[in-house]
Symmetry: C2
Subunit: 720 residues, 2 copies
């Protein structure tokens, strides 16, 4: 009972002695935490350059942009620029060629032609001999994006005397997927309830809806799927459409479109039809009518996300039709209105395959070229299911005639829920920068996604949201960094995860140099830590049954073998790992030859994927000095030490930020340390029961017998 008391005293203490800048901060403001800059020199420079504002804001979006700018100036610089219509020293010009005639100057036209409809230009230039700062775009939403970017320059104390940024998003649809149910529970959600209060909608407008839209706009997210992929047909009834329309109206000026999940059997469940066969005329008409009805209340409706014939969801295969048949019915209904279908490729059918990792590829590659042009396939980053580390999904690069979009998971279903500090920027980057070799070297996954590899104009990225009603949105204060990093990488998949982390820290916490240095290091290593203590050396799918909480390498004898752990690690007295080489399931055959050879050859296969692709004997030499068994033990031990180091690094930050968030992270790291040890002890205990080998020096035997870990039971685990 020590920690609560210590925390209480800290809170108590804090009321007296902490300086103003360390006041309690509940994390609600996210990265838009416009803290007053404390460097007078810097402030003076900024203020001088930002004396006057030439910004005619007529549209709702431009009004929001202007309000944001003034709010940011006030908070960061304690300064309110004056409105003017004339060029003068210290003026900032903001707008589109339509909203502000001055922006038609030829010098800016060139820049504006080089950006797309969501892009913007931030530029210091001389107009009529007067040095002027310009934030310009072709559209109102581009201006809002530009304003947010400009404010982030001040938040991160960048020089703006000679600023020249020309930026456009590489991906058209940058979307959050909410696995939110109509009863406000969130599947795999660990940050409270769903933000959407369906019961009180459409009448009651929660302030959070507005703040959610603003946060998303600030990082360029422009779409949100409100409802769970495990869909409820009621979503498409008039009652709920009215509610969704109220949200769409709030999100609209922030440039955010609403999408809904379509349950494939909705024509039966709410339409009164006897079939949902995509070739049935009534079904086709039902989807047409339903779609028209939606556009009546949501004129800029984005489209449907569909999970079909996967994990019990109904789909076209129930009627002997293909995924393309199913997707195309919805696509035809949406097409007149400009909507799209995002069809999930996360499928595994009723028959257990020889290797689940192969199934999506096997099912979808034959359909390449058969989809309507407003269909995009939504593919998870890896072939299994959002594990701490997976190789890139073999579908990337394998369907050149079909637009593919990326699905990342921000909510930490398999990465410690909202209690483990895991920065996912590195995970996202790892996948996006993977080379598919589908058109030779440099056929990176990110080039599949941004459409450049196969010349697709329909491009998208989805992130499964980690957001809920928790005051700080994501439960863990560092969960916010994953929302932020996702937005940044959806805008530009070539972005650098380190730079993203750096900006996020500065915008969210402080510009203190030591804090920045330490915490950046902590974040950048955090994902390796979780891989080490959960699933090192390419292991995967070792988590607890159903709730996915904690370790469960012993899980076996379930309705499907590919829902068990033993199916994936295949550990026995001789060895461990899943042979996906040509002598095994040959899942490697789904990759381009260069990739296949790289992973198939034990000399080149990196240890990070060793047991993903190979089944090896316990005494296999990972390197000259170390057997596989010893390496496995060392990795688990390393994971625990990693978290201990994270704790040490964090504790050094006391007094550099507010007490509230400092203590939150302290509390959470203590849980993470406890659970890292649990993972290590449970997994090593289990694997030792197979290998029968001794623990190497430096690795202490688990304090409890294997049965203890196997028998731990948990009630009411969140997220299911």
């Amino acid at each position: 009972m020590k920690s609560p008391i210590i925390f209480l005293l800290a809170v108590c203490f804090s009321l007296f002695f902490i300086p103003a800048k360390l006041k309690a901060d509940d994390g609600y403001k996210l990265w838009l935490n416009y803290q007053k800059l404390d460097n007078p020199e810097l402030v003076k420079g900024y203020v001088n350059q930002l004396q006057y504002l030439i910004f005619q804001a007529e549209s709702p979006t431009l009004k929001l942009a202007k309000a944001e700018l003034l709010k940011g100036y006030q908070a960061l610089l304690d300064h309110s620029p004056l409105d003017t219509n004339h060029l003068m020293l210290g003026a900032v010009l903001i707008g589109t060629p339509k909203s502000l005639r001055m922006l038609n100057e030829s010098i800016l036209q060139t820049d504006l032609h080089s950006i797309n409809s969501d892009g913007f230009v931030i530029k210091r230039l001389t107009i009529h001999n007067i040095p002027t700062t310009v934030i310009a775009a072709n559209t109102d939403i581009g201006v809002l994006y530009g304003v947010f970017r400009f404010l982030s320059l001040l938040q991160t104390r960048r020089p703006i005397q000679d600023v020249y940024i020309v930026d456009s998003p590489a991906i058209k649809h940058r979307i959050l997927n909410h696995w939110d149910n109509l009863d406000r529970s969130v599947e795999r959600g660990y940050a409270g309830q769903s933000l959407w209060d369906w019961h009180k909608l459409p009448d009651y407008i929660d302030q959070r809806y507005i703040d959610y839209a603003r946060a998303n706009a600030s990082i360029g997210i422009n779409g949100t799927v409100l409802t769970n992929v495990n869909a409820n047909a009621l979503t498409l009834t008039p009652t709920y459409l009215k509610k969704a329309a109220a949200l769409a109206a709030i999100f609209r000026p922030y440039g955010i479109k609403v999408y809904l999940t379509a349950r494939f059997s909705a024509p039966i469940e709410i339409g009164g039809l006897k079939t949902a066969d995509p070739h049935d005329k009534d079904v086709i008409n039902w989807w047409k009518d339903k779609t028209a009805e939606i556009y009546k209340v949501i004129p800029d409706f984005g489209g449907f996300l569909v999970k079909a014939n996967s994990e019990g969801q109904p789909g076209p295969q129930n009627y002997g039709r293909s995924h393309a048949d199913g997707a195309n019915v919805l696509a035809a209904a949406l097409k007149p209105f400009g909507g799209i279908v995002m069809w999930r490729a996360f499928v595994y059918d009723d028959k257990v395959p020889d290797d689940r990792a192969k199934q999506a590829y096997s099912e979808f590659t034959p359909l390449d070229g058969l989809f309507e042009d407003n269909v995009i396939l939504q593919v998870k980053n890896g072939p299994i299911d959002f594990q701490p580390r997976e190789p890139f999904h073999p579908l990337f690069g394998a369907m050149p005639k079909t637009p593919l979009m990326m699905e990342f998971q921000l909510t930490q279903e398999y990465l410690g829920f909202a209690t483990h500090l895991v920065y996912l920027g590195t995970l996202f980057q790892e996948t996006l920068r993977s080379d598919t070799y589908s058109k030779g070297p440099h056929s990176w996954v990110r080039k599949v996604i941004d459409g450049s590899l196969d010349k697709h104009s329909l491009t998208a990225m989805a992130g499964v949201a980690n957001i809920g009603t928790d005051r700080n949105w994501t439960g863990h204060p560092f969960g916010q960094s994953n929302w932020y990093a996702y937005g940044k990488l959806a805008w530009n998949p070539a972005s650098d995860a380190t730079e993203i982390a750096k900006d996020w820290i500065q915008m969210t916490f402080t510009n203190d140099r030591d804090f920045l240095q330490d915490v950046k290091m902590l974040m950048m290593h955090s994902r390796e830590a979780v891989v080490n203590y959960m699933t090192p050396l390419g292991l995967h799918h070792l988590m607890g049954w159903d709730h996915h909480y904690g370790p469960g390498p012993w899980i076996k004898d379930k309705a499907r073998v590919d829902w068990t752990s033993v199916y994936y690690h295949k550990a026995d007295e001789k060895g461990i790992g899943f042979n996906r080489t040509s002598s095994g399931s040959n899942a490697l055959g789904q990759y381009a030859p260069t990739v296949r050879q790289y992973y198939e050859n034990l000399k080149t296969c990196p240890t990070t994927y060793l047991l993903w692709f190979h089944h090896l004997p316990w005494n296999y030499k990972v390197n000259e000095d170390t057997t596989l068994w010893d390496a496995l033990c060392y990795q688990y031990e390393q994971g625990v030490q990693d978290v201990k180091n994270m704790q040490l690094i964090w504790r050094k930050q006391e007094n550099k930020i507010d007490v509230e968030r400092f203590e939150q992270v302290n509390n959470l790291l203590a849980i993470q340390y406890k659970e890292a040890k649990w993972w290590r002890d449970a997994c090593l205990s289990y694997f030792q029961s197979k290998s029968g080998l001794k623990f190497p020096a430096g690795v202490i035997a688990p304090p409890q017998p294997l049965a203890y870990y196997e028998n731990l039971t948990f009630h009411y685990v969140p997220g299911i």
Copy 2:
């Protein structure tokens, strides 16, 4: 779709133009909204009197009191008093005779002897010729209560030059009951999830736990039952006890004890016994051991709350034993540690009685005198179930040998959830001031509760909490007033609901005189409004099936007749109402003769209870001019007009408070108006189908046929 857009513009607008005092306020601070006083004269007077602080704060509770005082001074007066050890002009002395030797002066001793252990004295007096302000108590918690009261004097701008308050609570245990489940759902909760994050406890300490304790302490609440009366035996397992202990450690310095609900069958479910028979030795020992185990981790554990043999809960009657047998087993286990049993009298057994209103009295009065002296019976305010209006429960005054405690419901299960503005201070007051006549006139319910009528020293009051994770705690900003009023009335059941409303408005919103006047009126009438549009003239139990959302006067043919609406209103072509006189169920026979006669005689029975006690023909003359049918129609219509007036009054307050709360209440009143019309239309439509009579002038016929209202269906209604 108008409202969201208007709201957006309002928010947008607010960024520019609103004065500082109208900044957004999310309501999190409750009545502890220490806003800077804007009257310089007043501030000067306060500050002069509060220059120095003689306050040696060693204990955790005194430390909290001191921190609170400094926080309040800073926020209200922008002033920090200096610490000193010597009497001087402008000094405030704070403490107990133990913490501060100066308080042993005889002049204060007299006051301190006149208060109990939770009481305090706030007094301006002259010590050694120096005018001095004193906040003194016999205990540390008394000091904390005194400090909160003192700050409330400043919040409400009361003069303090000659302050002299000597105050003690009239009730010993002032308790919140949380109907919170271990999965964080809240039965009949409409303000988000349970505050208790069981999954992350005991390691993660949410700031809200601390703020919850502080808010309760500020109004004298000193106990909290963490778990639902529909209890889960897991609550009493070591895993959950450790979690409850973490909460108890946080609440302890705030003077708040933790209680748990005990599932009567726990000895079987988690104890491995074959019976839960209270006469069984193993069962008796199991409860003894379990209780000792609890006190090991929660040394100041308050005791058990038990719902037994009611609505499917197990209890002693399953073994042919009485409620007293059941309660006494737990009482014996708790007694050595000073714990108490709160045994709920809300029972109705498997056999449907002739009148459910009679059942608790029938079951419990024969047991008077049979309970151990650390058992208290927890009785709901009325004999049915927290209806908008009920007469006081006949048990009050009918069990002189048994301590009885009051159970009020703050969460608005039957009063519009968290979307209707209903101030319950008037409802609570109405019950507490009801005269039972059990020992002649002035045998008020409040004297039963405070122990003075029958000389009981064990006294308690329970309020079923309306609190959840919603940012403003209660969903509706005015729900906070019910938490506040409950605390105030639990401290002093003779308090005046108007005064409580006035203080709450000033502390929560503003001291603006017009706002205070208008909003006080609105609050004071709000409960009559909800009675009018839901259950006028003594009607009751007309709500929707199961979820209790909206009207359902047509509910019939359920497993039990006393779960239907028709059982209670008994409307047919001839008349309406439940005959509880001697010619009917004779429930009135359970009251003292004076009370019985008053309600039985149609000449004296107030119209507010007419149909509660009488079945009358539609053409019965309520007064010279009005038939019962017409009166019923008028009351429903009046209820709708009442809400319209509330809207008008509220809209006048724009710019007097922050935009965020102003708009929230605006939104919610719009829902309330819509739902008031729905209640009126559905109920009148239904009752007309019985009476066959025309609507009187001024009452418009419902816009839809009865079948429309009967067929409305709702999914995922919160609170179940």
